[in-house]
Amino acid sequence: MFRFSKPALAQAIFLAAALAAASPARALDDFGLGRAATPDEVKAWDIDVRPDFAGLPKGSGTVSDGETVWEGKCAVCHGTFGESNKVFSPLIGGVTKDDVKSGHVAALKRPDYPGRTTFMKVATVSTLFDYIRRAMPWNAPKSLSNDQVYAVLAYMLNLSEIVPDDFVLNEQTIRDVQKMMPNRNGMIYDHAMWPSTAFSGKKVKPDTHAKVCMKNCKDKVEVASSLPEYALSSHGNIADQNRHVGQVRGQTTGPSAADSAAKKHPAAELADTSGCLACHAVDTKLVGPSYKDVAEKYKGQDVSGLLFKKIREGGEGAWGDVAMPPMTDIKDDDLKTLVAWILKGAPSK
């Protein structure tokens, strides 16, 4: 048996105590990972605004200031009056003075009413402030000042005939606006699609009650709708979208992909894969100008170098206030191909 001499034992006990003090046993759920967020960090990211206006920053904006912001940064996608559905669904329209009184948009009850605008649906004005501040303009999110957000929202409220032309929206008046929101009473919560009673206040059962029936479950089969013949080809050649081996094949509903690809201009494919078509189209103005318009503008001029630079480095001014973001990921050769193609008017073949 090994025995400690007295001094050695004392030393061992001392060492053990010292080790214990230096590294106390750590609980396994005390991970020691991450660090405290600084108040400035929380402030930078915590920009959400709730329906009760918790989180709403101070600021103000007039309808006319909002119109300036709108025309410079918003109208290009949403239309002069917020009515456009060219890029996104319409924002403005479909609400009446009566809706402002009742708080429920009457047009929503009409199955024949074409489309639903943002103002027909939204119940909470905080939603609009929060979203414009965090995500708009679409290609330059979070670039508006708080005053600009107030102003542009004031302009939208004015377009919707909720507030007068001389209205000033600020962190106080926005509370009055909430009481005038045309669809403020338009939301219901008595459904089973939230996992608790937090909204409904009571347990709600699912709204359909189908049963498992196995034999002679009905007298006849009523086909209410089928795909019209012409719509078969609306999604291209289905044969190309199925495997060419197995228990089934896809139906031939159009020219094969191989044929179409052979006919498509390689630069058109390049524009697609490079992400250009998110903002540009060949014939119509989207967020940016159409390629036809660009070709028309520079007709007869040698601007290949200029256009190359503009696409590579981005810029603004030539086609309104919406900036062209720099396109740094496209290879030089590909960009040259694209420039030549655009200046030719972006031919499809």
Binding site: G34, A37, E41, W45, D48, R50, P51, D52, G55, F88, H104, A106, L108, K109, R110, P111, K121, D130, A135, N183, M187, I188, H191, M193, W194, P195, A198, F199, D207, T208, A210, K211, V212, K215, N216, C217, K218, V221, V223, A224, S225, S226, L227, S234, H235, G236, N237, I238, A239, Q241, N242, R243, H244, Q247, V248, R249, G250, S256, G275, A278
Partner: protein
Amino acid sequence: MRRRSEIDPEAMARAANPARIRKAPENFLGAEEIAAVSGGRRDFLRGAFAAAAALGAGAAAAQDAPKGDEMILKPQSWATTLGQPVAATPYGMPSKYEGGLIRRQSPGLTQVAGASVSFMPLQGMFGIITPSGLHFERHHQGWYDIDPNKHRFMINGSTPEFVKKAKVYTLDDLMRFPSVSRMHFIECGANTGMEWGNVAVPTVQYTHGMLSCSEYTGVPLRTLLEDCGVDWKKAKFVLAEGGDGSAMTRTIPIELVASGEVIVAYGMNGEMLRPENGYPLRLVVPGVQGVSWVKWLRRIEVGDKPWATKDEAVHYIDLMPDGQHRQYTSIHEAKSVITSPSGGQTLLDKGFYNITGLAWSGRGKIARVDVSFDGGINWVEAKLQTPVLSKCLTRFNVAWNWDGKPAILQSRATDETGYVQPGYRMLREVRGTRSIYHNNAIQSWKVVESGDVGNVQVL
């Protein structure tokens, strides 16, 4: 040994290629297949006729000509030459013959591809896991490939009372926490939304393709909230926020967070998330619609009131017939669809088919799936393929002998809560046709005599 006179070229052709006995393949096969089929068959017949001719000319010569499938009799290049070396494709890609099974957009659904949807090709998928490269996409402001070393994840309270300490985590931190891996489905709330009023699109890719299923790896959000000292009594909701341009926000049910089901995920199907799916971090909220699975997740806020963010106050709200909108509809109710055969496909011939499809429920496990071949008059119970997991796709199969007569195929899911997937009549009676979201009606595929399968709605 068989004698020459017994050779029936038609029967031989059928035996060699039993799927190819229909008279007018031009009507139901693609151009490439027609070439392959008729080419192969002509070659075969030519061989047979040559043999027959040789019989007349001289029996000895004919006996030497081999008979059978050229793919067997004739040495093929892949069996007689050297193949590709290892790592020729360091990240492997599907066979070039699988090029048709890709994510696709539905023309006219949206105006710009940066705020749009691409659909998963359900018509050709097996099992329950979606290959990561085919996972459906829904972006609101385009996608980014974010440098994981520059990504930060913050947890804070609406006010300091909800968490003791607001914290910031790097990916290095998060990937050191105890992790879980779980398989779950993700479905967009608007999946099948184009079909509320009537049939609108031709194939299951477009009717049901905003659906995917993966194995996700990450840290339960509960663990992280506890690491920040959450006050479970005061916390009623959490807000999830994305790091992309849209800074997507959604109110998340605290009950699902507290249950440990909600995961702050970095892994998907054994590798990191794909950029289109939120690399390097996304929220996984099992059973809840995809919009709540915030991608490029940068922040969780704990509070006691919901936020009514744009995508829960303007979109993802369900219009009812009386003009009211249901708000905060989040959970997917039980739903199923037959994926093969399905719309836009053609059956090759009469005879045996494995009818196969998927079922899922946001409330738990799938308990059973029934399949009808006569538009819902009679049903048979399908076989559920294991594993059958909670809030995960479940594959079902059922045998069918097609007699060549018209048929209408349907599937009907029941989940472990006893909820049974409704038909269109029942669903529309409650919700009308303008809801856009959460259409979980029974899908019908009509088979006609030619073998063509089409999308129909049965009441």
